[in-house]
């Protein structure tokens, strides 16, 4: 699974990366996390509000940091 955290480096983007790493560790998933900070690439995903989370090239969250529970649900539905 390839997870991308989209955001130019705002506070929320850093938070999103942290909670994503925690959720992956909790669930014991195999995943690589990439940070995408380039505006053209971010906009290329159709994302207009950061931070955003992309799992296997699919945008699943945009504009906010989800709660740890919601994030685990999202990750589970994508692995299942």
């Amino acid at each position: 699974m390839i997870i991308k955290v989209l955001g130019p480096g705002c506070t929320n983007c850093i938070t999103l990366e942290r909670v994503t790493r925690e959720a992956i560790a909790d669930l014991g998933l195999e995943a690589t996390i990439e940070k995408v900070t380039d505006y053209a690439t971010i906009a290329g995903y159709g994302v207009m509000s950061t931070p955003a989370l992309v799992i296997d090239d699919q945008v699943v969250v945009s504009g906010r940091v989800p709660t740890p529970t919601a994030l685990r649900e999202l990750l589970n539905t994508h692995t299942g």
Binding site: Y39, A43, G44, Y45, M48, S49, V59, G63, R64, V65
Partner: protein, 349 residues
Amino acid sequence: MSIVERVPTTRPAQVGTLAGVAAVWVGAYVLNGHLWGWLLHDAFGMDPVARLTESLHFFVYDTIKIGLLLVGIIFVVTLLRSYMSIERTRALLGGRHEGVGNVMAAGLGVVTPFCSCSAVPAFIGFVAAGVPIGVTLSFLIASPMINEIAIGLLLTMFGWQITAVYIGAGLLIAVVAGWVLGRLGVERWVEPFVFETHLGGQLIDPSARLRFDQRIQIGVEEVASILRKIWPYLLVGIGLGALIHGWVPTTFFTTYAGAGNAFGVLVAVAIGAPLYSNAAGVMPLVQVLYDKGLPMGTLLAFMMAVVALSLPEMILLRRVLKPQLLGAYVGIVASGIVAVGYLFNALLT
């Protein structure tokens, strides 16, 4: 488990919780209005007309009052705004022509949940979807300038007339500035990579498919995140307000910056534009300066200059706008604010 994950999931429990919280809020607001006068004057025996007492009273009373107002306003606004999204706004603006598009963009700028930290991806997203540059700029000008926190605070402190004036003036500036910039043919002053960006992926609309408890949760999170961000500005603003309230004589401001001073508005905008603060930090100052006799047009111009023109946002927008366009943007918005300041000084006196 955080507070936001304890929101009840059944509708009656949600309504009950919200009603309970609202009752506590009203109680605290009313208590705050009486507590400090009693505590400082009666319990501590401080002289009610001494400068120190007046400043101290202003500081504690206003800090708590504005804090409570912010919590209430941000929560309600965020809850309502969770039904809107920038994706939906873009869909509404796509294919609109200038003119009608500018008016719609300015209006949507007020209601769409939008953080200026997302100004760049939003700009690219709008332009790539075929929204004209001038229309996009109307949105980007209106969004910070007509600020929901400012609306809420103005409404409670100065009443609906001043609030309506503020909203109307902000919309007018956003529409006219965006339209003028669009007329200038500014495409050549936009960084070329914006036009080369292709929108891939599927669009998700974050406002769709949210349950009501998730919307409450978003509201609570937003209150916490905004308060965390703005409390230093708020304390500095109220602190300055308290000092002016207690120590600066009214004649000082009416002599040097009153309605009689032809340069009052220009000076207010020149001071306000480079200042980076939040509407919540400016409002206590606006209130105390108004009490000291400063004209409302000057104060509205000052507030708009502080919130609409901020250096961090300009630095962000430089990624997509060339210096010429950025300069024109700042110049036109600043002139609009100055014009509005003079207009309302003339109308409101």
